[in-house]
Symmetry: C2
Amino acid sequence: MKRIETWIVFTLLMVMRLQAQVLQEDGSVLFTYTHKEATKAVVVVDNTAYPMQKQDADMWEVCVQGLTPNLHTYLFYINDVPALDQRNPHRMRDVASTFNFFILPGGEADMYQAQDVPHGTVQQVWYPTLTQTQRRMSIYLPPSYGQGDRYYPVLYLLHGSGGDELAWLELGRTAEIMDNLIAAGKAKEMIVVMPNGNMYQEASPTYCAERTPWSDSKVRLQGTFEETFSDVISFVEKNYRTITKKHARAIAGLSMGGYHAMHISHYFNQMFDYVGLFSPTYSTIPIEERNMPGMKLSFPSERTTPRVYRNVEKDLERQFAAKPALYWIAIGTTDFLYQENVQYRAFLDSKGYPYTYYESQGGHSWDNWRHYLTLFVPQLFPHL
Amino acid sequence: MKRIETWIVFTLLMVMRLQAQVLQEDGSVLFTYTHKEATKAVVVVDNTAYPMQKQDADMWEVCVQGLTPNLHTYLFYINDVPALDQRNPHRMRDVASTFNFFILPGGEADMYQAQDVPHGTVQQVWYPTLTQTQRRMSIYLPPSYGQGDRYYPVLYLLHGSGGDELAWLELGRTAEIMDNLIAAGKAKEMIVVMPNGNMYQEASPTYCAERTPWSDSKVRLQGTFEETFSDVISFVEKNYRTITKKHARAIAGLSMGGYHAMHISHYFNQMFDYVGLFSPTYSTIPIEERNMPGMKLSFPSERTTPRVYRNVEKDLERQFAAKPALYWIAIGTTDFLYQENVQYRAFLDSKGYPYTYYESQGGHSWDNWRHYLTLFVPQLFPHL
């Protein structure tokens, strides 16, 4: 089993020399962990747990076979205590979980890694709102931005309920994916705007204290984010070189961000020509009630409902009457929101609203969302 | 012991409800950790270990008294396995260690927290170099940047050997400190440039794989970063609205970054009017040889030495002949580099070179470096 001679090996050899893992040519990775008093050690790679075997006095190890080219995450559990690889600085945070990662190169995985291509610029910028004084968003500016007189189309890209304005950058590898797609001629140069969709947060917890607990689900889906999304658009179109036309605006999101993208795009129904719903949920009624086979989605309409949720069917009618260039829905077959998506597609079919559907393996996870992004972005703005 | 009614309490109460800590009014914090099979639990707060007591079947707890207003870090050790607070998303990475943090408000600690003041913008941008194709740097643009025709002075701010272009932002709270100092009228609006000073890295490991192991100390201090620092300055002055004069340039750094700031500022000795050395090291000879009491620092001069280290004394003579507006040295009394700093000050004294010296408690740690930054920045560019 010869070592692969690529850059990735340096990362992994470095780590190996010190503590934790080795890459071998056939996609197998050796995980080791040293701890004197452990009686049980497990490594969770992606979502699969691998029990480790005790090798000597304090060294535990397991060789995981057949990992495919991709970004892989891992976390040790030493006597059931979640433990990072103390020697690998490559790590990501998802809500309150931090784990290590590495990229096995090849295929789409190469899109997730910074390559020697022109790079865009990433910004964190604060924008004023009516509901809170200021909120933070991340912005990706493409490589040629600022070097000439061009104006650019904009993709608004929304995170899930545990995320924040850094999630698409850190877990989603958006800057790397955009740089690499653009360099390969597979995507147009565009601005990507990643706001923070949790109204209880003004910014990521790396920056700000929350004013409300994130565990309080009542603060999540009150419609405020969707109804005030014009704040985000106004700020971006005022401060950046953007094409301020429907044919140059796209909106996409994952999970709760898919919910946001769906509701924002029907509420501002003449605004976006491209809509991407990645593993989305749709309705404001509890999941238990809407996720049963045979059930149809229903949208509330009471006067007490936030405005954005009050006229969903009418708004969708207006949105589809204006013929969006792309209405793209993607979900994995084992996603817990799969059934709800069957229902939403049945609803769209019943109305004769055209959409494009993409079904992948797997569930509600970042490896699907990175994959969906690499599929969605090349379909945007072909005329520009 | 009444709860403090400030925003911070929300963060901590949130956490408490789920798992890990409670704030009380007298600066005491209750740390708890739940684990079924633990036989030993410790929490390390800042750099002090507190053994936890078993409360019932699986709950461990310790109340830590007398914490002062500051940013405090903590990490649990459950049966000696380092463990994050799984319910607190507030965390920082330092080299390959990740830990939780919270801020006890009051005094200077309020500078470390985003407040309701005008915020600057943070960028990560790639710049071209002669030695590598591209490298990434972080840039802080002050609140008024881009809103008028102003040009700004620039502070170049350098991290230590385990850091990268995100270290001053994440661990150093630079954006928060700058926003708050500027809002309080204590600092001028300025651009802060935070490049990556480790030449084996093109960017932070959140973004890039390293091409060389960070543990290989030989790649650290080869002079390349210092000698090519003109790449950084050129890029910044070409692409941002900067005042391109000595009186509008400052350079500062911590630890290895202090070493870089010292060597860059004598090498480009007509370039910087303000120099800040935070817990710096100075010489290229091994620490063991230069850190003995009574020993003088010596700078190598052989032809094989990188150019930047070859004429240090001559360069310093030129630097001080041009009368820098501020040459500021800060170190903690228990820093392992303390003795070396005694020697460097003796050297400056022997030459009659003026400098300002600030001595703090404590050692080689981020709480000192955040503190030094809040002291250094108000001294910059008083005439602008």
